[in-house]
Amino acid sequence: MSYFLWVEDFENSPKVTASNVFGGVFNDDFFVEDKRAIKKSFKNHGVFVELNFQDGFGFIQSGLDKKIDYVILDIDLPAYGADGINEHVLQLLTDFENYQAHEDETEDEQLQQKACAELKKIAGFYLYTKLVVELGFPKQHILFCSNHGENTKTIQEAFKTAKISLPKIHQKSDADVQ
């Protein structure tokens, strides 16, 4: 049995998104509108679902020993969930998104929100880098599944700038996908 990590926020319909990705594997009963129910039922079948960047990042840092074979990443992910932000993500915002803690709480909250909004747009790439560069996870086992096809060019440019070989990008319009 292969194990999957799927980091996906289900911004649109959870049922449709889950069905699009795992429709060929699971029965229709698996796909419901509550993303938390999806998370619970998928877990029993070796698919670990995390719903935001912070939880995905935490899973990768601490949970790869669960013998994850494949990772599916969304690109656009909320920085954190209802539990609030943790120190790892705060550090990442400081290192890469120009966030500097401010002594005024109101001001600080706004700065943090702004940095999180920036991170959200490319959160999946941070996870990819963490997996491939830091943890040596085989990049052939990573699949980006994003509903943001308009960012294809940006993705290509980002990989080029980072001197990372470009992954194969399948688009919904491609014949082999359809």
Binding site: E33, K40, D55, G81, A82, D83, G84, I85, T106, E109
Partner: protein
């Protein structure tokens, strides 16, 4: 002439002399003809006819005396009458008076003065034979008045006599000669000004003739010693030239008029400069504030860019006409002078800015040099441009206007005009052109974002009535609820449609919607029900998750230290149960038509206490589901949903929704207890506040965006005039 002929003529004259005034007039005509030319005799018979009461003779004699007394006027009329007489001769309808006066003047004045030889009969038969006529005009003007011809008083005497016999032409001329009904002949300049008007409009007794009209004006403009009249005539001539697109001549007259201190000319100059330089500002009601803004803007820019052609030019215009700063002609000359002297070499050929600078320097800088004018500049002095700006606008400083228009739609409209406008940008202005393009690109990004916000909010606000419909379909299926939801959606469509097209219409419709059965309490009640049906639905549950969790903890349904993550992982089924139960319970309240107090009490048991202040005492009325109701629904929907989404209070502080009047505004405020963990829980996109800002801007309202703090206050103030 034979002796027999002379005797017959003497007999005839004797006969005429005794009885027939008309025959006497005809005899006068006879003695100006080529074959019988004897102007003294002609004048004698004309007088005789007039004295015998022949009206046409009285008019002819009066006008002859008048023209003899006013040679400048005579010289103008003679020039054109010769053509009239010739034309009339061809059709056999010669105006006897005009012919007689013309011939008398030529024969008695011009020929006698020895300056010009003229064959009058040839002139009558063929105007082309009147060689050198301009010389004649000059000769008439410069001739000495013949001694035995009476002056103005006699002229008026005979014109009045003719007038008494209802001679229309005499009446018309008297009107020009009398000053404001007083029996005093005005100066020749005034007569000329009046004749200009008479010939221009074709007043009774004067065949419309623009050539004579403007010849009269030109005479005053060129030769009058009366500065006021000369200024007035010059200004009218300038206007005429502008309308005929003879800009070079027109500006010459405008300069003359300004030098004669003509107020209208100064005003025209000012309008032309302002229309050209500040075309976006000059016709606005708040133009004064706009110029003040422009002056401050220019002053700031010039600190870093002292040699900028456009900046100096624009500052020169403000100084020249005292806009945004005290009038300073020397300062203006300096600004324009820099342009004219230093900047011209760098520009290929003449251009609009150079011409404008040049015109000012030459008018106000004691510079007698000829104006250098190109047609493109002259255009800006025409009333067509000043009063009705078309697509021919030039824009000197687009970046100033973009900075001024801190509004996406205004900037967008401006850019449309800018794209259509002819450019004035030359080699050294490319940087500025790039600046406005960059500025516009920024506005476009903002515009697109705002449009996206509106679209997003549009979709968002539809969710509440849609959720109500969906729930109703699968549960009680009440027709009244369908109707209510449909009306709400229609109202929302109305508001969004108007907002995205014409905000002025929105304000007008709000103003007009001030009568009807609906009021604030009714809108609040309906909006509350609508958002509750949405928030209590499955799709809305994530937004109010903290309320389910807090309720479960309070009721002992889970441990008090359960975190959000654990709640989501292990208690989401419990959340489903609560969601389903609450949704049905609220729908049941609605089905039972529970009053507002009952519904608010139900809310307090599960969410928080919602305090309403000032809603029932506000004297605001409007139509049910009308534009005001829809507008307020959108506001309340946004504010109430946020209250539920971000509420958090350990000691169960209430949410306070208040309506009050303050400083001419109707203010809706919401005090909302919250905590950072709820605010940063990313339940929203932040678009709601952007949308409220846009809504405020489009309705002239004031939106105070709440600061992210634990007891945050949101305020939306609507001008009284829109609601009361």
């Amino acid at each position: 002439m034979t002796e027999n002929t002379t005797r017959i003529q003497a007999d005839m004259e004797k006969q005429v002399n005794e009885c027939d005034a008309q025959r006497q007039f005809e005899l006068a005509l006879k003695y100006v003809s080529a074959s019988e030319e004897n102007p003294e005799l002609a004048l004698k018979w004309l007088r005789q006819s007039a004295e015998n009461g022949y009206a046409e003779a009285q008019f002819t004699l009066g006008l002859f005396y008048l023209l003899n007394s006013h040679r400048r006027l005579a010289s103008i009329l003679m020039r054109w009458w010769v053509y009239d007489i010739s034309d009339q001769a061809k059709t056999g309808t010669v105006d006897s008076s005009k012919l007689l006066i013309y011939c008398l003047i030529i024969q008695l004045i011009v020929n006698r003065s020895g300056r010009v030889e003229l064959n009058t009969s040839a002139a009558i038969e063929n105007p082309n034979a009147i060689y050198g006529f301009p010389g004649n005009a000059s000769a008439i003007k410069n001739s000495l008045q013949i001694d035995n011809v009476p002056n103005d008083e006699s002229a008026v005497f005979w014109l009045e006599r003719a007038n008494q016999q209802n001679n229309i032409e005499a009446a018309s001329w008297l009107k020009q000669c009398y000053q404001d009904g007083i029996n005093v002949i005005p100066s020749e300049n005034i007569i000329l000004m009046r004749l200009h008007e008479a010939y221009l409009t074709g007043e009774s007794g004067f065949a419309k003739n623009e050539d004579i009209a403007f010849a009269c004006l030109k005479e005053v403009a060129d030769y009058s010693e009366d500065d006021v009249l000369a200024g007035e005539a010059s200004y009218i001539l300038a206007e005429n030239c502008f309308e005929e697109k003879r800009y070079r001549t027109g500006l010459g007259y405008l300069r003359a008029a300004i030098q004669f201190e003509n107020a209208q000319a100064k005003q025209r100059l000012e309008k032309a400069y302002l229309s050209f330089t500040f075309s976006e500002f000059c016709n606005r009601d708040d133009a004064k504030q706009c110029y003040q803004y422009a002056y401050n803007w220019l002053s700031e820019r010039l600190k870093n860019d002292t040699s900028s052609i456009e900046l100096n030019f624009a500052l020169g215009v403000l100084l020249a006409f005292g806009k945004g700063i005290k009038q300073d002609k020397m300062g203006a000359l300096k600004c324009f002078g820099i342009y004219v002297e230093d900047a011209l070499d760098s520009i290929d050929g003449p251009n609009a800015l150079k011409c404008f600078a040049d015109i000012y320097v030459k008018i106000f800088g004691n510079n007698d040099k000829k104006l250098e004018i190109i047609d493109d500049v002259g255009l800006y002095f025409s009333s067509e441009y000043i009063n009705n700006k078309g697509n021919q606008n030039y824009f000197v400083l687009p970046s100033l206007v973009f900075d001024f228009y801190d509004d996406i739609n205004l900037a967008r409209d401006f850019n449309r005009r800018l794209e259509k406008a002819k450019g004035i940008f030359h080699a050294n202005s490319i940087q500025r052109e790039l600046e406005w393009k960059q500025k516009y690109a920024e506005f476009e990004v903002r515009r697109t974002k705002e449009l996206e916000e509106i679209m997003s909010m549009f979709a968002h606000k539809f969710r509440s009535p849609l959720d109500a419909i969906i729930y109703n379909t699968t549960h009680d299926n009440q027709p009244a609820l369908y109707a209510e939801a449909a009306q709400t959606m229609r109202g929302l469509l109305d508001v969004f449609s108007i907002i995205s097209t014409d905000e002025i219409v929105l304000k007008e419709r709000l103003k007009q919607d001030n009568q009807g059965n609906s009021n604030l309490m009714a809108v609040f009640g309906a909006t509350l029900d609508m958002i509750m049906l949405h928030l209590l639905s499955v799709s809305g549950s994530e937004k109010i998750q903290q309320h389910y969790m807090a309720y479960a903890k309070a009721q002992g349904l889970c441990d008090a230290d359960v975190s959000y993550k654990i709640w989501n992982d292990d208690f989401f089924e419990l959340e489903h149960e609560l969601q389903n139960e609450w949704q049905q319970a609220y729908a049941h309240l609605l089905a039972e038509s529970a009053n507002l107090a009952t519904r608010l009490h139900w809310l307090e048991q599960r969410f928080f206490k919602l305090e309403l202040k000032g809603f029932d005492s506000a004297d605001i009325h409007f139509k049910e589901h009308g534009i005001t109701a829809s507008f307020l629904t959108i506001l309340l929907n946004e504010i109430l949903v946020n209250a539920f989404k971000y509420y958090s209070s350990k000691d169960k502080q209430p949410v306070t929704l208040q309506w009050l009047e303050r400083d001419g505004y109707q203010v809706l405020s919401c005090r909302n207890p919250s905590t950072k963990s709820e605010r940063v829980a990313q339940k929203g996109s932040g678009r709601g506040h952007t949308f409220l800002s846009a809504l405020a801007r489009k309705t002239g309202s004031v939106f105070s965006k709440p600061k992210p703090q634990d007891d945050f206050v949101l305020e939306f103030a609507i001008a009284n005039e829109l609601l009361i």
